[in-house]
Amino acid sequence: MKLDVAIRKKLSAEGRVFDLDIAFQSVEDMVVIFGPSGSGKSVTIQTIAGLRDPDAGRVVLNGRVLFDRQAGIDLPARARNIGYVFQDYALFPHLSVAQNVGFAMLGNLAGGLHQSVEAEVLAFLRSFELHELARSYPRQLSGGQRQRVALARALIRKPALLLLDEPFAALDPLLRKKMRQELLDIRARFAVPMIVITHDPEDLEFFADYLVLLDAGRIKSTRSSTRAERGRLIEQLLSGS
């Protein structure tokens, strides 16, 4: 993956002003944006996805310009081909697991999945071990199953990039370990580049090939790292230095 991001965005809410001004480039396939809550991580990936308009800047993914304020380019979210897994998954509560995963293939107005598509969706669900839940609704699923549905829904369209917003924050510690491993497996299986945002230092050990440290809307440092280096970094972060 070749990603080039430069974003400036001023946000004001309830009298407080937040100023995000960041730029980074990465050729790694696993980027982690790490920082405390309120540091601008979510705004950053929402901008990459096209859910927010920055005041200025550029977002270029694999040579394709997604956003360029000066050139007047702003592809809508639906045309960016970027997968996104929300922190609380944002599964459609009124649709079954199969319809959630196959949402992109549903008609604009009404009706279920077309027969020809349904087989494809079911095969995909099988690869996520979700086929037995195809007719279940999100409220009937456990936290881990919900996350798997969200991942399957994002990946079935073969996105050029997968964005994950605090993917493990909503899970209990035991499940968190398991789902981290699952995400690594998925990454290997689909060869999809990912950007994960997190405030949990433990996530770094698993994921960051390229690390962006964010604080109060600014980049503190960026680095490519090996797993051993990350171990040392985590110790530093946990000891608070």
């Binding site: 809508p76 979210a77 944002a90 459609f92 509560p93 604009n108 107005l109």
Partner: protein, 223 residues
């Protein structure tokens, strides 16, 4: 049974008028509720107040506005009659228009509240999955707001069925043509026809109770 025969004509007319009125109110209320909850519209509060006005204004005032706006000497009235051949004064179409305006706030308020409750994040998720705005509306927003919208629509239907003041002013009370149930009841009481009045009153009450019960059922959460 003379009362039944005399009740049937106004009943059928009332159902026709109320159905058209509800349909018109439904389409406009849904569109405006969506626009006002999803986009930044200049003067939103004022528009909201105007849309709620038919709920609090005396129906006679609404009827008067309508007479001025679409009467035969008004610009709209002349245009409607010349180009489309539609005359609204003393016709059932006029009654339907009056009832639709009185019923509009009920659908609009319910639709607005229901759409406000739909999580924006779900609409964002749909866009990220390649959905255009039509698909976002029909596949996410509307299905999730549906029960609230439907409950409001049923209330609007009940309200349209009971419309009296504005309808009387714009459509009059022509038996078989514009005399709806509520007007027929008034006429029957005036003429001392208690049997007809009793029958119409009971019938109206039963239909309205049925609608309220059904809309109450629809409001219970399912997901």
């Amino acid at each position: 049974m003379p009362a039944l025969n005399e009740a049937l004509t106004p009943l059928l007319l009332t159902l026709k008028v109320a159905a058209w009125a509800t349909l018109i109110a439904f389409v406009f209320a849904l569109a405006w509720a969506y626009v006002l909850t999803r986009y930044r519209v200049w003067g939103r509060e004022t528009i909201d107040a105007i849309f709620t006005l038919p709920m609090v204004l005396p129906p006679t005032v609404l009827g008067y506005y309508l007479l001025v706006l679409v009467g035969r000497r008004s610009l709209i009235g002349i245009w409607l009659e010349d180009t489309m051949g539609i005359r609204l004064i003393f016709t059932w179409q006029g009654a339907a228009l009056a009832a639709s305006i009185v019923a509009f706030p009920l659908v609009y308020k319910a639709a607005r509240a229901a759409m406000q409750d739909v999580e924006h994040q779900l609409e964002k998720a749909a866009r990220l999955l390649g959905a255009n705005e039509t698909k976002v509306f029909f596949r996410v927003t509307l299905p999730l707001a549906w029960r609230g919208v439907l409950a409001g629509t049923m209330l609007a239907f009940a309200r349209a069925m009971g419309e009296f003041g504005a309808t009387l002013m714009i459509a009059g009370s022509i038996p078989g043509k514009t005399q709806t149930m509520s007007i027929a009841i008034y006429e029957a009481v005036q003429a001392g026809r208690d049997d007809v009045a009793n029958f119409l009153v009971v019938l109206t009450s039963l239909v309205c109770i049925a609608i309220l019960l059904a809309s109450g059922k629809l409001l219970q959460r399912r997901y």
